[in-house]
Each structure stands twice: as C-alpha cells, then as structure tokens.
Amino acid sequence: MMIPVTFWSYFAELAGCAETVVTVSDGATIEVLLKHLYTSYPALAEMRRSTLIAVGVEYQDGEYVLKAGDRVSLFPPVQGG
C-alpha cells in the first residue's frame, strides 16, 4: 500500500522535500510509517516529540491504522495569529 506523505512548514526543509510516498503493508499503523520516514529522513526523527500528524484533515496518533487512499501530513506545532 502506497501512502503519500506531505511535510509542512520547516519540516519540508528538514526532509529536503515537501512530499514523498512510503510503501507499507496492509494494516500498518502511523507508527510503522514513521519508522520508515525516520530512516529516510533522520532530521525529522529529531523532531518526533513535537511532530503533529494528520490523515486527510484530521489529527491522528501513532496507533491509527492506515488505509488505501489515506494522505498523511507531518508538521511542527502550529503558530497561527
């Protein structure tokens, strides 16, 4: 299953790209996806404690089970205003 991932704000600079695609097994959780990402983009691993995760337009946590068609976003704490 291929999951598109978007990095927002300075996470894109840390990753060196704004988007990527990660292949995971059926039934994989976001936690599994993150392990793949942190191997490919170690600079993001350093931000894991402050990383916010969304699937589509909803916040999710590491236990969320990914489905075909999901789009994941990773980003730092928000700063509107």
Binding site: Y59, S73, P76, V78, G81
Partner: protein, 136 residues
C-alpha cells in the same frame, strides 16, 4: 450562528469589515481583535512574517471550532480572516469578530477561538529578518 471564514493572501480590509457588521436587535456586544505583525520576533528585528498554511485542514479545523462555539448558543455571529503569504510589519495577519448578547460572552468567545486556533489550526509563520541595519 452566522459564520464567515477567509484564509487569504489579500490585505485585511478592516474598515470594510466593520461597515459590513450585522447585529440583530437582541445583540448588545461586538468584540473584534486585530492581530498585527510586530517589528520584533523574539530578539530579532523583522520586516515581515511569511505565513504558510495547510488550507483544507485549516478550514476544517476552524469550522470544528466554530461548531463547538455554536453549541454554546450565545454567539450570534463570528467572522474570522487569517492572512497567509507575506505580511509586512504593521499589517494585520488576523481579524476576528464575535457578536453576542453580552460582552462577557463575546470577549470569552473571541479569546477562546484565538487560543484554540493557536493549538489546532495548521498555520505556521516564518519571520523575515532585517538583513541590513539602518544607517546611524
């Protein structure tokens, strides 16, 4: 509850927004807040802030906040405009107005929406630093 949300690159037309205000006869409070870009961010002098935004999620999260506010039943209308892109020092990046029957509800709702926005709405800012010191 009437609601208006705009996430825009355009400057905020505060005079136009005020002129377009609508309140029913039972409403006695209109509170608005204008968030303006300061010339200093932390210890750095800046000329502007670049705002970036995950727009579909930001709109969704704003409307979730508005839904929660609507459940209180005390707010007649809420209007919120957030700029994205480059916003120069002295310009407004955020404008919010709450209309309700009494001032306590209006102040409280305005403060609550801003606090929650800063917690859940995916907007980020990147200061644009002053690169040349002014001549003394």
């Amino acid at each position: 509850m009437k609601r208006f949300l705009s996430i825009t690159h355009d400057p905020i037309d505060e005079a136009g927004l005020l002129a377009a205000r609508s309140m029913s006869a039972g409403m006695g409070a209109a509170v608005y807040f204008s968030g303006v870009v300061r010339a200093q961010e932390g210890s750095e002098l800046i000329v502007a802030i670049d705002y970036s935004c995950f727009v579909p999620m930001a709109e969704h999260q704003f409307h979730r906040l508005f839904d929660q506010l609507e459940q209180r039943g005390s707010v007649e209308s809420l209007r919120l405009i957030h700029r994205i892109g480059r916003v120069a020092v002295g310009e407004a990046s955020l404008w919010i107005e709450v209309v309700s029957a009494h001032r306590g509800e209006a102040f409280s709702a305005c403060q609550w929406v801003i606090d929650e926005m800063k917690r859940v709405v995916p907007i980020w800012k990147k200061p644009v630093l002053v690169t040349e010191k002014p001549v003394a």
